[in-house]
Amino acid sequence: MSGQRAAAAGAGSFRPAFRPTVAEALAGLILVLLLIAALWPNLLAPGDPLAVSRTEAFQPPSFAHLFGTDESGRDIYTRVVHGAAESLRIGVLATAIGIGLAVVLGFVAGLGPRWLDFGTTRVVEVLFAFPGLLLALLFIVVTGPGVLSSTIAVGLATAPGYARIIRSQVRRTAAAEFVEAARVLGRGRLWIVARHVLPNVTAALFVLATLGLGQAVIWVSSLSYLGLGAVPPAAEWGAMLAAGRTYIANFWWMTFFPGLAIVASAAAATVIGRGIQKRNRSAA
């Protein structure tokens, strides 16, 4: 019988599929490289990201300059590597703001009395009426462009999406039968939240944060590309994109490689986030 078979699967094998796929291994490698670039950029790119050289301006990719040079002759590869720290930090901050806000909204809506749920859901619904970047743009028009402003803007714009997911996860857990079983056993509301709801939602939160990091990096860099975020000569990837914008047709490498770094980061975060999600699902 199938039941017996499951029992025979063995006590130790409850993590059957932790072996990473090719994509996940690659993603892990990329993340490691990014971390090294962020913490010890000189290991990967010993040069100076701010070193200008008039004569070397607009050089295409070559052995001397792996990613080419920009309009001031700065080596793009060095700038990409040194820009990792700032870009990742911005991404993490935006994600933290977004998820932090979403956790508050989601838990309040998921655990609170019906009227609070109603109110919070309405708030989220209203924020949802502004699709994508528009909410961020609305914020920026109030505070003016800049790195901090664009970071907070992205956090605010991504929060409603996460809030909805968190709320539904919280509600689903709170309505689960094991919560009822706990109530029958006499556990108090606070105890149930701390011992049952939180641990079960945290796994989903982790996935959300990982996936969200990828999204945040993309959104923030998009804002920088539009000139509303970081500005050159900062080596932040988005700023490099903004600078290279006007030269797309002729000097494609100025936007291509910083963009590639962004894509790689976002893809790595997404693949790993999905991997965790898949394993969460099969374990639960």
Binding site: A6, A7, E180, V184, H196, N200, A284
Partner: protein, 566 residues
């Protein structure tokens, strides 16, 4: 046309087994099955999950499953060799010569299309009728299967029909092209008992009209009233064959004997369903008496095998009513429900789904507040109290839920679940209460080594035992059992029921047993209450209530017990 409608000899169905080390191994789901079905005969194959009965049936139309390797000395329908058919000829066979009726019409019919279309498709594929002819024939078919308002129903989608109506529509789609053989694969699962009887009667009519019927079921009692011959399958082979009387009353194979013994229907109270006693029934009565005396208010010391006729009154419900307001509509889940739960006695609560049984259970457990009426626990008010005042007494009422998997936190091990229950929520680490956890597992007949496992990796029966252990940990006097065995195979079900029975005798517990399965209810209950539309429409001692009641619904239940008339 002479010869059997279906002739199967040495059928073997194998699936690739990825777990096989090295070379590609196979898993034989069906390993040498032979039988025949004649026109106007109903052959039933019974077995538990994993026995291969469904795969056998579906191989007849070449739908054994993805990657199946099917081979047989003979597999012919109405003289045609199925294995040599492919493409168009096979499609002509399907639906035209053989009709397949699957279980659970809610998912077996396309939810997006009106049921009339599904029937019309069969007609379009196998008959030469034009559109108008098809429409007429569809209505005819729906009427034949006993669906009133056939014209209206044909235009409705499966979601708009009730469970029984859907199943009848599915049957209509299966017989639309007048097949010589009808294969019904678990046609009565997910249906309430009176509705089941109706569907089976319908299949009996088909048989009487000359169609061959191959009936697959896990439920022995379902096939008893309708089958001409019964085959018992386990692990891919047929272990017994004969008329229903032969199989049920004089089983020869040990597996069949176990299976027949495990069926609760018709077995009197307190007779064990499993042949070997669980290892722990050797426990002396001394711990049990301690359990009784530990109870609040003291109990009577009687511990005879059948229990006293009137045990101590533990839980009392008087006039309990509850109405839900959902989306502007009102649903009355309970109307003036009253009953007693006494020590050492089981009250069975039966009724169709939606009759209010679960709501009643939740009110008793303090998960819902009744709108009217009162629940009293051991003489003191229970339902009117605020949660904080109730908490100290919560341990007196335990619960076992229907779905054992979802009633456990997926991140907790068995040890954590029991430690949490034992320490009243103080800790989930089994370390400090290791001894008591092992004792609990022993009481419910589980290996103490399971402490480190998560419920996900246990079998259904094991999970339910852990659920019982958790309920016992707080030393309750009353257990509310909400469909505790519905999700289990018959033999596993028997073990769990025997366990519950033994525990009740040892600890003098009061049970409220909620189930839709009449056989289980009648076997386990001392008293029986029948619910319909939130009301108790009949109640009394289990042996007599079905025969002595005046209520039409109770009559319906009593009738469905006897099975469809032959």
């Amino acid at each position: 046309m002479s010869g059997p409608v279906l002739d199967v000899r040495d059928l073997v169905v194998a699936f690739p087994d990825r777990r096989g080390a090295g070379r590609a191994r196979e898993r034989r789901v069906v390993d040498g099955v032979s039988f025949q079905v004649a026109a106007g005969e109903c052959v039933a194959i019974v077995g538990e999950s994993g026995s291969g009965k469904s795969v056998t049936a579906r191989s007849v139309v070449g739908l054994a499953g993805e990657g199946a390797r099917v081979s047989a000395t003979r597999l012919s329908v109405d003289g045609h060799d199925v294995l040599s058919l492919s493409g168009r000829r096979l499609r002509e066979l399907r639906g035209g010569t053989v009709g397949l009726i699957a279980q659970d019409a809610l998912v077996s019919l396309d939810p997006l299309r009106p049921v009339g279309r599904e029937i019309g498709d069969t007609l379009a594929l196998h008959t030469g009728l034009d559109a108008a002819g098809r429409r007429a024939r569809t209505v005819e078919l729906l009427e034949r299967v006993g669906l009133p308002d056939a014209e209206l129903r044909a235009r409705q989608r499966p979601g708009q029909l009730s469970g029984g109506q859907r199943q009848r529509a599915l049957i209509a789609a299966g017989i639309a092209a007048d097949p010589r053989l009808v294969i019904a694969d678990e046609p009565t699962t997910a249906l309430d008992q009176p509705v089941q009887a109706g569907v089976l009667r319908l299949l009996g009519q088909l048989r009487d009209d000359g169609t061959g019927v191959l009936l697959i079921s896990h439920d022995l009692s379902v096939v008893l009233g309708i089958a001409d011959r019964v085959l018992v399958m386990t692990d891919g082979v047929v272990v017994e064959e004969g008329t229903p009387a032969e199989v049920f009353e004089r089983p020869r194979h040990p597996y069949t004997r176990r299976l027949v013994a495990a069926v609760p229907a018709g077995r009197p109270r307190n007779t064990p369903l499993t042949p070997t006693p669980t290892p722990n029934s050797a426990a002396t009565p001394t711990p049990a008496s301690g359990a009784v005396e530990r109870g609040v208010g003291g109990g009577q010391g009687a511990r005879t095998a059948t229990g006293p006729a009137f045990g101590e009154l533990l839980l009392e419900a008087r006039g309990v009513s509850k109405t839900f307001h959902v989306g502007g509509t009102e649903i009355v889940a309970a109307r003036g429900v009253s009953f007693d739960l006494r020590a050492g006695r089981t009250l069975g609560l039966v009724g169709e789904s939606g009759s209010g049984k679960s709501t009643t259970a939740r009110i008793l457990l303090g998960l819902e507040q009744p709108d009217a009426g009162e629940v009293t626990l051991l003489g003191e008010p229970w339902s009117p109290l605020a949660e904080a005042r109730r908490r100290p007494r919560r341990h007196l009422v335990g619960a076992v839920f229907q779905d054992p998997l979802s009633s456990f936190d997926p991140r907790w091990t068995v040890g954590a679940v029991l430690a949490d229950a034992l320490t009243r929520g103080r800790t989930v680490r089994p370390g400090s209460v290791r001894g008591e956890v092992a004792e609990l597992l022993d009481t419910v007949g589980l290996d103490p080594a399971l402490v480190a496992r998560r419920p996900l990796h246990l079998s259904g029966g094991q999970r339910q035992r852990v659920s019982v252990a958790r309920a016992l940990a707080a030393d309750p006097r009353v257990l509310i059992l909400d469909e505790p065995v519905s999700a289990l195979d018959v033999s596993v079900q028997a073990q769990v029921l025997d366990l519950l029975d033994r525990l009740q005798r040892e600890r003098d517990l009061a049970y409220l047993l909620i189930t839709h399965d009449l056989g289980v209810a009648l076997h386990m209950s001392d008293d029986l209450a029948v619910m319909q539309d939130g009301r108790i429409v009949g109640s009394g001692p289990a042996e007599s209530v079905l025969d002595t009641s005046n209520h039409p619904y109770v009559h319906l239940l009593a009738e469905s017990l006897q099975g469809p008339a032959r």
